[in-house]
Structure formats: structure tokens, C-alpha cells
């Protein structure tokens, strides 16, 4: 027997979420059916609030509920250093280290020829404007260590170096806690290239 229409609609909607298959969607739908109304209302309100209030920072393109975002307005952060990342979630990855106190710039992607994504499709102009304003001294390019991320980093280096800023790239190599025996040769060669004095 088929589900009642509202339940079937909910299962179908949940199934469109990433990582949710038919079985998981059914389980979540039945869980919501049993959940008290106030909890379901709170969930709906939270989802609506995300759509209504979250926007992109006009300075760094990070997701925020206030424009400019908290990172751009925080006076304790060092405005002379900008860390460039591909996606907003990459900001969290850097923040988790608690070792970086500069500001960010989110490109909203990387140069991806096979997807037809070129430099003009990324938030590069905003970065050049920030650097052109004069107070920036170093750009740390923290794009992913893939062909796309590397092409983006090299392209940015070509644009930024003539503006008189230091351009650095995050190190690539052997992950902490891993074993050299299991490291592929390209990762190992990158690690050797990026070795440092002790």
C-alpha cells in the first residue's frame, strides 16, 4: 500500500537531499511524524531562516548573516594577510587550526576546464580590488592540491605578484600520522619540494 500523500511528498523531498536514499528518507519521514509539533516547527523555522538570512559577504564572498562578515569586521584579525580558499566550507577547515588570524577570500570555485569554469567565473576581481587598496602584504593561496586548485593558484600568482604582495602557497605532502611506505610518489615528490630547514 502506498503512503498517504503528505507522507509520500515528504519522503520524496527528503530523498533529494545529499546522502539520503529511499530507506533513509522513509526513516526520517516517520521520525518527523512522531516528533512533537514544536520541534518540527523549530526545524522548519531554522531552514527558512537559512534561506532568508544567509547571504554572501560583499568583501570576501564568505557566507554570512551580516554584510560584511564577522571575519572582515573583526578588528583583532590581521588585515595584511589574506587566505584565499575555494569554497566557504574551506574557511572552517582553516579556522579549525586556530593558527591563522588573518582574513579570508572565497573564490567560489576553482578553474575547472572540463566543467567550463574559467577565471571569469570566480570571485577574483574582488580579491584584486582588496589587494589594490594597498593594505594587504601577503596572500596565502589555500586552494585544493588538485589540478584545478593548482591551476587556480598559479593563475592567481601571476595576477598578484606584479601588485607587490607576497604570494605563498600552502604546503603539500605527507599527512600527519601517516606512513611514508603508503605515500604515492607524487605526494612524496611534492613533500620533498616543499621541505623546510630545521
Amino acid at each position: 500500500m502506498a503512503f498517504a500523500d503528505p507522507l509520500a511528498g515528504l519522503v520524496a523531498a527528503l530523498q533529494r537531499l545529499p546522502g539520503i536514499g529511499a530507506k533513509s528518507a522513509q526513516r526520517l519521514a516517520f521520525h518527523l511524524l512522531k516528533t512533537p509539533r514544536e520541534d518540527v516547527d523549530a526545524l522548519c523555522a531554522a531552514m527558512r531562516s537559512v534561506k532568508d538570512r544567509v547571504t554572501y559577504c560583499s568583501t570576501c564572498s564568505n557566507i554570512t548573516d551580516a554584510d560584511p562578515c564577522g571575519y572582515c569586521t573583526d578588528g583583532s584579525r590581521d588585515g595584511r594577510i589574506i587566505c584565499v580558499v575555494e569554497q566557504p566550507e574551506n574557511v572552517w577547515a582553516v579556522e579549525r587550526t586556530r593558527g591563522f588570524r588573518g582574513r579570508y577570500h572565497v573564490l567560489m570555485g576553482a578553474i575547472a576546464p572540463l566543467q567550463g569554469v574559467g577565471p571569469d567565473d570566480l570571485k577574483i576581481k574582488g580579491l584584486l580590488t582588496r589587494v589594490g587598496a594597498g593594505s594587504v602584504e601577503e596572500i596565502i593561496v589555500a586552494t585544493n592540491p588538485t589540478v584545478e586548485g593548482e591551476a587556480t593558484a598559479l593563475y592567481l600568482a601571476r595576477l598578484l605578484k606584479p601588485l607587490g604582495v607576497k604570494v605563498s602557497r600552502i604546503a603539500m605532502g605527507v599527512p600527519v600520522g601517516s606512513d611514508l611506505d603508503y605515500t604515492d610518489e607524487f605526494t612524496m615528490s611534492k613533500a620533498m619540494e616543499g621541505r623546510r630547514d630545521m
Binding site: P119, T152, L154
Partner: protein, 252 residues
């Protein structure tokens, strides 16, 4: 069910379900294959950087009867597109990386599924190797386009005018009527190939990719041939190549 170990070049990957990826790869003797790389989206542990487009390596995959999709178990990379940026300055290195995706897209478009095309494989492998040595990425791209079209039998004959049969020595005109090279007297249309560009094509017909990248061809010659090749490719594919636009944007 049989396990196959083969030399292959990764052409592209895309997401499949939540954690897996479909990998399109060209093998030397079994042609183009599509395989599921289990958990490749979620974890980089098994495949690492080996799924980057235009990585060449030894693949291990499992074929099952009646199934088009194979199961990709392992890739041991021999060359990586990441090597193509070594020894180049920033802008040129970005373009070289862009070109590896362009080559992968062209091979993907031209290689038929599960039909061996050893000459195409060898062309892609040799151009990939040449890209990892510093040299003109532009020359290598034109060389790749020239040989790809030639191997597929659609590059116009260089020897003589398609109309009057006179030997072509002073350049040629690519006639959009029949897409053949004609001499300046017989040919019509705006797609002209200068004497220098024509000379470069004749050299490319006889040289290895490594030799052609060091022959110091001018930027003008490369641009001329880029336009001609783009028209030929678009005519045969019946569409423009997506990555070509991006590579153009990467120019200084």
C-alpha cells in the same frame, strides 16, 4: 567476471551516488572504459591524486558479463598532470595544467567506447609525457590537435592543393566548403594558413612532441593554427570544446 590490468589514461571523473565516482579512462588495448571507483568521492586514501584528468598509469579493473560499467580497483600512476607545471613560470604553468584537461576532453570526445584505438592512446601518452618537460605548451597543444585530427582521418591533406593539385609551399587556404587546403589562387574563405604556419605543420607531421615544443614557433603561427584547428574540431564534433574557452582565458 574477469580482472584486467592495463595501461590507461584517466579522462574524467564524475560523482556517482554519495561516495563513489565514475571514472572514464582510455586503455591501450581495450579502448575507452567507464568504471566505478568505490568511495573515491569520500576518501582519497585508495586513489589519492590518481583520478586527476590525464593521469597515466596502470589500472586494475573488474569486468562483469553484460555490464557496461566496470569496477575500478586500483590505479598506480606513472605520470601525473601535476608534473606539467614543473619548470614553468606561474602563468604558463596554469595554462599547461589547463591544457591537460583540454587534451583529456578531446580524447574523451574522440575515443569510442570499448573499441581499441592504440594510436590515439600512444598520442595522448606521448603528449602527456612531453607536457611534463618544460617547453611550449601552446606548440604541444597544436601538435596534439593536428595529430588527433590526422589519426581520425579528418585533417586536410598538406601535400597539394585540393583543387589544382599544385604543391602547397606558400601557405594555404582552408576552404569551409569541403574543409580541404587549397592554394591561394583556388581557395576561398578567411581561414588562411601562412607559409610559416604551413611549414610548422609539415614539421609536426614528422617530429616527436618533445622536439616540436622546442622549435621556437612564433605566437602568431600558434594563434593561426589554433583558429584553424578549432574550426576543424568544432565541425567534426558539431560543438565547441568546453575547456578550450577556459584555456584561452588563462592567457596573459
Amino acid at each position: 567476471m574477469r580482472t584486467i590490468v592495463a595501461d590507461a589514461i584517466v579522462l574524467r571523473t564524475y560523482r556517482y551516488a554519495e561516495a563513489d565516482r565514475i571514472v572514464v579512462f582510455l586503455t591501450e588495448h581495450q579502448g575507452k572504459k567507464r568504471g566505478v571507483a568505490k568511495n573515491a568521492t569520500k576518501s582519497r586514501r585508495r586513489f589519492g591524486g590518481a583520478l586527476e584528468p590525464f593521469t597515466r598509469g596502470r589500472v586494475t579493473y573488474v569486468e562483469r558479463e553484460g555490464r557496461e560499467l566496470v569496477r575500478l580497483d586500483r590505479i598506480e600512476p606513472v605520470t601525473s598532470p601535476m608534473q606539467s607545471s614543473a619548470g614553468r613560470v606561474d602563468g604558463d604553468a596554469a595554462r599547461a595544467l589547463g591544457y591537460t584537461s583540454y587534451f583529456a576532453e578531446l580524447v574523451d570526445e574522440w575515443a569510442p567506447d570499448a573499441m581499441a584505438n592504440e594510436r590515439l592512446y600512444r598520442l595522448a601518452a606521448s603528449v602527456g609525457d612531453a607536457m611534463s618537460r618544460a617547453g611550449s605548451a601552446e606548440s604541444l597543444a597544436r601538435y596534439f590537435e593536428f595529430w588527433l585530427l590526422r589519426l581520425e582521418g579528418v585533417y586536410p591533406a598538406l601535400s597539394a592543393c585540393a583543387r589544382c593539385g599544385r604543391t602547397l609551399v606558400d601557405g594555404a587556404v582552408l576552404d569551409p566548403g569541403d574543409w580541404q587546403f587549397a592554394c591561394a589562387r583556388c581557395g576561398h574563405g578567411a581561414l588562411t594558413v601562412s607559409r610559416d604556419a604551413f611549414g610548422w605543420l609539415c614539421r609536426a607531421a614528422a617530429e616527436t612532441p618533445a622536439a616540436i615544443t622546442d622549435d621556437g614557433a612564433s605566437v602568431e603561427v600558434m594563434r593561426e593554427l589554433e583558429v584553424v584547428h578549432a574550426r576543424l574540431i568544432a565541425m567534426h564534433l558539431e560543438r565547441d570544446v568546453r575547456s578550450a574557452r577556459v584555456v584561452r582565458e588563462l592567457r596573459p
